[in-house]
């Protein structure tokens, strides 16, 4: 027996999925151990390996692939424990990271402290040079001034360097020269050139990409080396792959060259799992993938079998956080989850969140110090959660404490405790509906035509009313919902992208120049493919994309190109037509007959890793499912209904359960509301069908 292990280290828990070659999956969960990540992984592996009867060392020695998803990079940025990074920029423009692109939320709230730039001004250095919009050198690089600046950096104990010069995507000659000078003057200090990492126009985004990337280099190199050594010491001698923000994986050695790919990589794996399960269950459909945990609710999308991407990924809040600037899986995250706290504002309105009780002090029902009413407490009051079977019975919930906390809200609203609990669930659910609407609107996807995939420990509590509100008729809750991102690791491929910036107006299309750019991208893919072949990979796919817009617009849309070359008007027309279609899909209008402006060209290379097979069980012709208990449960519009409760492991494929009912899985709970039905599929997932009113 050989194994494959996928790991997702989150802020609180480390999730692990152990797959055997028949497709058997075992989940493990343990607290994340920050000082030595392997300790938590070992704990989770121990739990997952229980059923194999083998020890951790034995399982690891028979594992050929470890897929590692980590929040280490994201956390380091939020906690400001990244390298002391210097920022080199064109003379006259030292404040690119300070001024950014403006914008602010809350029109009348001026009590936001001013934003701190990713690299402080004291570590920002101006370089005398200038290139114009067409790539012409206006002022040649002053090498003497640059060298003097680099020597000052040595005195300033700088650990990494980010370089972003104006118009370097149009002509990288000055950035490249600076790169060579850094290697000569400051050997061993890692650096990032913006034109190599992310050659997009818009100096703030490119600078932010470079600064984040450079600042992560020393740290992530160390982190991945340590982790790999720990694995090796414990007996592992297979390959280590790392999850990236492309929703794919890369070899650890490649990713340390561009550690920005690690930022927000964990949530990017959830749609990979969602797509795998959904295609196996219902075939290709547009998907909305939700991952609801204790503190955050993440949403991502799959359209036309492709996970949707964005260039608007922020670390922290939009405007006040830091933008990565990279094309990466579009994941919207809001602070809503089981730990969200309910409160009453000065006008008497019920609010839920954004404050969260987090793991500590936790919801009141955890009994570890929390007293504020949370969504988890409301779910317990309503009877959705079984106090004796939380986390498969490993944690006991205190129903009285939950009721006491929710009673505070009920008292202020002058309603009954259960009504207050229902209202809390509804307001929390509405925030989630809002998050889903925001991303579907942005990406032009109609929820009514989509399948909702719900993962995370808290998703099953109210996914049915959320789906009903969105007009989704079906929801898939994977049995492994509690570890959706780690599951994504099991089914991911090696994905890498290459971008070049080349402006092209279709009214006067520069065929040769564009074909040259596409050929360069293809050559980069070729080189990378050759390296992967040496590592034993055999199946590859190449895709090409253009980011384009109508004249005068400044925000581009992603359009897939049929192939990586333009041989004539027909190829061009196909691209323009695809753009019109995409514009209409996203913005509800198109301007037929209008020419378009092409800005960036991207190539994506995918190397297929064969994931574990999906194990189907024939539908058993079992009798009616047997509930292990029944209780009166409160549902909106129905008051109390007699509701059976099932353990997921007792249900066989083919079983259908009509709501109201509750299904408990060790890492998640599914509430089957009235007017909905759950079916256990051949893959032992749950497909919920929701009657639309």
């Amino acid at each position: 027996m050989t194994y494959r292990i996928a790991i997702d280290t989150g802020g609180t828990f480390t999730d692990l999925v152990l797959a055997d070659e028949q497709g058997g999956l075992a989940l493990g969960k343990a607290l994340t151990t920050y000082e030595r990540i392997f300790a938590g992984v070992e704990g989770a592996l121990k739990m997952a390996a229980e059923r194999t009867g083998a020890g951790v060392g034995e399982v690891l020695s028979r594992t050929d692939l470890v897929i590692y998803g980590t929040t280490h990079a994201t956390n380091a940025i939020i906690e400001r424990s990244t390298a002391r990074t210097a920022f080199l920029v064109t003379e006259g423009f030292p404040d690119i990271l300070v001024l950014r692109e403006g914008g602010k939320l809350d029109p009348f709230n001026l009590s936001y402290p001013p934003i701190e730039p990713y690299v402080p001004r004291r570590l920002t250095f101006e370089i005398r040079e200038r290139i114009d919009a067409e790539g012409n050198v206006v002022l040649p690089l002053d090498e003497r001034q640059a060298r003097e600046t680099l020597r000052r950096l040595a005195e300033r104990r700088v650990e990494a360097i980010a370089v972003c010069l104006l118009w370097s995507p149009a002509n990288p000659v000055h950035e490249e020269a600076l790169g060579r000078m850094i290697e000569a003057e400051l050997p061993g200090v890692p650096y990032t050139l913006s034109s190599r990492l992310n050659p997009i126009i818009r100096e703030y985004r490119r600078a932010s990409s470079a600064a984040i990337d450079a600042s992560l280099k020393p740290l992530m190199q160390r982190h991945l080396n340590d982790f790999e050594q720990d694995l090796r010491r414990a007996g592992f001698n297979g390959q280590l792959l790392v999850a990236t923000s492309f929703g794919g994986v890369m070899h650890a050695g490649d990713v340390v060259q561009r550690p920005i790919y690690l930022v927000k990589s964990g949530p990017a794996m959830a749609p990979v799992a969602g797509r795998t399960y959904a295609e196996a269950e219902v075939g290709p459909r547009d998907l909305i993938v939700c991952d609801a945990g204790g503190t955050s609710f993440d949403v991502s999308l799959v359209h036309d079998r492709t996970i949707t991407f964005t260039r608007e990924t922020w670390l922290g809040s939009i405007f006040t956080g830091h933008i990565t600037g990279m094309a990466s899986v579009d994941v919207r995250s809001i602070g809503a989850g089981g730990g969200s706290i309910a409160w009453i504002d000065s006008g008497g309105l019920l609010r839920v969140g954004p404050q969260s009780a987090r793991a500590e002090p936790g919801p009141a029902c955890y009994g570890i110090g929390g007293t504020e009413p949370t969504v988890t407490d409301a779910a317990l009051v309503l009877g959705y959660l079984d106090p004796g079977y939380f986390l498969g019975g490993r944690m006991r919930l205190d129903a009285d404490a939950a009721a006491a906390a929710v009673a505070k809200i009920a008292g202020q609203l002058k309603i009954e405790v259960k009504d207050a609990a229902r209202a809390i669930m509804e307001v929390a659910g509405d925030h989630m509906v809002g998050a889903i609407k925001d991303i579907t609107i942005n990406q032009g996807i109609d929820p009514r035509e989509s399948l909702l995939v719900a993962g995370g420990g808290a998703a099953g509590l109210n996914i049915v009313p959320i789906a009903r509100e969105l007009g989704c008729r079906q929801v898939l809750v994977p049995r492994t919902a509690g570890a959706l991102s780690a599951c994504g690791g099991q089914y991911s491929n090696i994905v890498t992208e290459f971008t070049q910036s080349r402006f092209a107006y279709t009214g006067d299309f520069p065929y040769d120049a564009v074909n040259r750019v596409l050929a360069e991208i293809a050559a980069s893919m070729e080189r990378f493919e050759a390296e992967l072949r040496e590592r034993g990979l055999t199946r590859f796919a190449r895709e090409f994309f253009v980011e384009a817009r109508y004249p005068y617009q400044v925000w581009e849309l992603d359009v897939a190109l049929p192939r990586g070359r333009f041989d004539g008007q027909a190829d061009l027309d196909a691209m323009i037509e695809a753009f019109h279609r995409e514009h209409e899909r996203v913005f509800a209008v198109k301007e037929s007959g209008q020419q378009i402006e092409c800005v960036y060209w991207r190539g994506r290379l995918t190397a297929t890793l064969d994931g574990p097979p999906l194990r189907r069980a024939a539908a058993a012709r079992a009798g009616a499912p047997v509930a292990h208990s029944r209780q009166a449960i409160f549902f909106a519009g129905h008051r109390e209904l007699e509701t059976p409760r099932f353990h997921g492991e007792d249900l066989s494929p083919g079983t259908a359960i009509d709501g109201p009912a509750i299904i408990d899985e060790p890492t998640t709970t599914i509430v089957v509301y009235p007017q909905s039905r759950a079916r256990v599929t051949e893959l032992h997932n749950y497909l919920l069908e929701i009657a639309q009113s």
């Binding site: 423009f93 206006v138 000065s346 809002g434 925000w555």
Partner: protein
């Protein structure tokens, strides 16, 4: 999230009230997103100088998520004009409105109004208002401070004119705009974006109403306004009762050689939770473009109020019930009579009204109000025009958004960098240097925040920038109406003013010559125009600032060592260059005591 109306003790279900309110905000956000991403001119898609709002069938402002305050407070006057002028308006209609005498802000803000019908009843009006890149003015600028009246201003006027019938354009109106507005393709693209936003709002409101049913929606509106009023009352009850008078002045320029003195009287009733603003004691309308429109006079003082209270209060007709604004006809900050020009109503005097109002609240004592925010529409906000040699001389006209006026110090924190102007308070985006250089034949030399430019205070005003740019191969015209050179943003409660702004020109040899504060300047290739922006005013005495914050400011280059010593009274050891700088606490305490003695404070 149930389709059935649910009540509790005669009131709407508490969850439902929150849910529908969130939905309305999300409709506004969807409209906003559509306009931002499909708009053509940089004013829209880069700077986000536009706003979307929803008004009820009886013309009350209902929702305006993330709209610019100066745009949305007043949407109700626009829909009112639609109801009055077109009593037979119907589904499928759309109206173009930019008339300042009928409730619009200024002529350059085109508003598209779409009435939303459910079961034959007019339930809502969707408004999408956007500042145009050009509106057909005599000069290539959307701000005409010199214009003696609307005839000199020259903008095309649309007093709520029908532009769509049965969901189709009325081509006469489109042709008029295409004929008279510079770069008509750009205008038409922006029109489509605005119309698309309003139509998306219409679609979503119909879905929402279909879901909950019109009776429940009516009920929601009533209760939501009541709730908002309760929040507002509660917020105002946190203030002591007082009668305050704020004064200030717009800088002089040739049309108003003595400047424009301004007075805002604020009467707070903390027991009842009400506030009254009186603007009647101000001079008459001026023969230039600086006059406030009625809408701007109201919304800018209301912004000053909202800036000074709990920011969580919803901003709609419900909270407005607690505010009274007294205006007078033919007053520079009142109700203009035709043909008075209000070409620059949204910014210059508008900015002053916001500042004067919020600073007046600081008279209540420490912990209240704000300092004055950075202002001034210098060259960094200039409207540039000319021909682009890279596109066979094709004409271009657009406003740049590259200035950086500093935000005001507040009772709790330093000013917001990238504040822009008081009327937008940081909401607008700023241009990308590279996108500007790609779209227009210009080159930037500098955008740099200046040391010691933010007003000193316990909480410092944000710094202002120096912006330098010029044309590449052909001459370029830059039009700007700058305020804040003579009267920079003031501090409050002992805080210092921010740096004054100015405009200048660098000649081919690089020597700088100051330009007039309001001008249409022709800049030749090899020359550069310079805009130095204001810093925000400081809040509280600089000697009370935490020395650790002064140290950080010195290391970051926002405050010089000399100012740290002379104004903030902080004495350091160590050096800036190697970051060994440290506060000498004992020497600082002594030196501060001495400085306090000198100032008698």
């Amino acid at each position: 999230m149930s389709a059935s109306p649910r009540t509790n003790g005669g009131e709407l279900d508490p969850a439902l009230l929150a849910v529908i309110a969130n939905r309305l905000d999300s409709v506004c956000r969807e409209m906003t997103n559509t306009l931002l991403r499909s708009g053509r001119s940089a004013v829209l898609n880069m700077a986000r100088d536009f706003s979307c709002s929803l008004v009820t069938g009886d013309n009350q402002l209902l929702a305006s998520a993330e709209g610019l305050p100066v745009h949305v407070f007043g949407s109700q006057f626009l829909s009112e004009a639609m109801c009055n002028l077109h009593p037979d308006f119907a589904e499928g209609d759309a109206f173009l409105h930019n008339d300042v005498y009928l409730g619009n802000t200024h002529s350059a803000d085109h508003t598209i109004l779409v009435p939303v019908f459910v079961e034959g009843q007019h339930l809502f009006t969707c408004c999408a208002k956007a500042h145009q890149a050009d509106c057909g003015n005599g000069l290539p600028t959307t701000y005409a401070p010199f214009a003696g009246d609307v005839y000199e201003e020259g903008a095309l006027n649309f007093p709520c004119v029908q532009i769509q019938r049965n969901f189709r354009d009325i081509d006469d109106i489109i042709r008029m705009c295409r004929r008279r507005i510079r770069v008509p393709e750009q205008w038409y693209g922006d029109y489509l974006a605005m119309l698309g936003a309003a139509r998306i709002g219409e679609r979503r409101l119909k879905e929402l109403t279909a879901k909950f049913g019109p009776p429940l929606i009516h009920r929601f509106i009533r209760e939501w306004f009541d709730y908002s009023e309760r929040r507002m009352t509660h917020a105002l009850k946190q203030l002591p009762s007082a009668e305050l008078t704020g004064t200030g002045a717009h800088d002089p320029f040739p049309a108003v050689p003595d400047g424009v003195p301004l007075k805002v009287k604020v009467k707070i009733d903390g027991e009842e939770g009400r506030v009254e603003i009186d603007l009647r004691d101000n001079i008459d309308c001026l023969p230039c473009g600086l006059n406030e429109s009625k809408t701007c006079a109201i919304n800018n003082v209301v912004s000053g109020i909202f800036n000074s209270i709990d920011p969580g209060v919803p901003h709609n007709a419900g909270s407005f019930r607690r505010i009274t604004v007294h205006l007078r006809e033919n007053c520079v900050v009142g109700i203009p009579r035709f043909p008075t020009s209000c070409s620059v109503a949204t910014t210059n005097i508008g900015d002053r009204l916001v500042n004067i109002t919020q600073a007046a609240f600081a008279q209540l004592g420490d912990g209240y109000g704000l300092a004055e925010g950075g202002l001034g529409m210098g060259p960094g906000y200039g409207v540039i025009s000319g021909g682009d040699f890279r596109r066979a001389g094709a004409p271009y006209v657009n406003q740049l958004f590259i200035a950086a006026n500093g935000g005001p110090g507040t009772p709790h924190n330093d000013g917001w960098i990238n504040y822009g102007l008081p009327v937008v308070a940081g909401l607008m985006y700023r241009d990308s240097i590279e996108i500007d250089e790609q779209k227009y034949p210009i080159i930037y030399k500098m955008t740099r925040l200046l040391t010691d430019s933010g007003g000193a205070g316990r909480f410092r005003g944000a710094p202002g920038a120096r912006v330098v740019y010029g044309p590449r191969r052909d001459p370029m015209t830059v039009v700007y109406p700058l305020d804040g050179h003579i009267n920079p943003p003031r501090g409050v409660l002992g805080g210092h003013p921010g740096q004054p702004c100015y405009a200048a020109k660098l000649d081919r040899e690089g020597s700088e010559r100051e330009l007039p504060p309001v001008s249409a300047e022709k800049i030749l290739p090899g020359e550069f125009i310079v805009g130095v922006d204001t810093g925000g005013g400081g809040y509280g005495r600089p000697l009370d600032r935490d020395p650790a914050m002064v140290r950080a400011d010195v290391l970051e280059g926002f405050v010089s060592l000399e100012k740290a010593r002379q104004v903030y009274g902080v004495i350091f050891n160590g050096r800036i260059e190697d970051e060994s700088l440290s506060v000498d606490a004992e020497a600082t305490a002594k030196w501060r005591a001495a400085l306090r003695g000198q100032s008698g404070a």
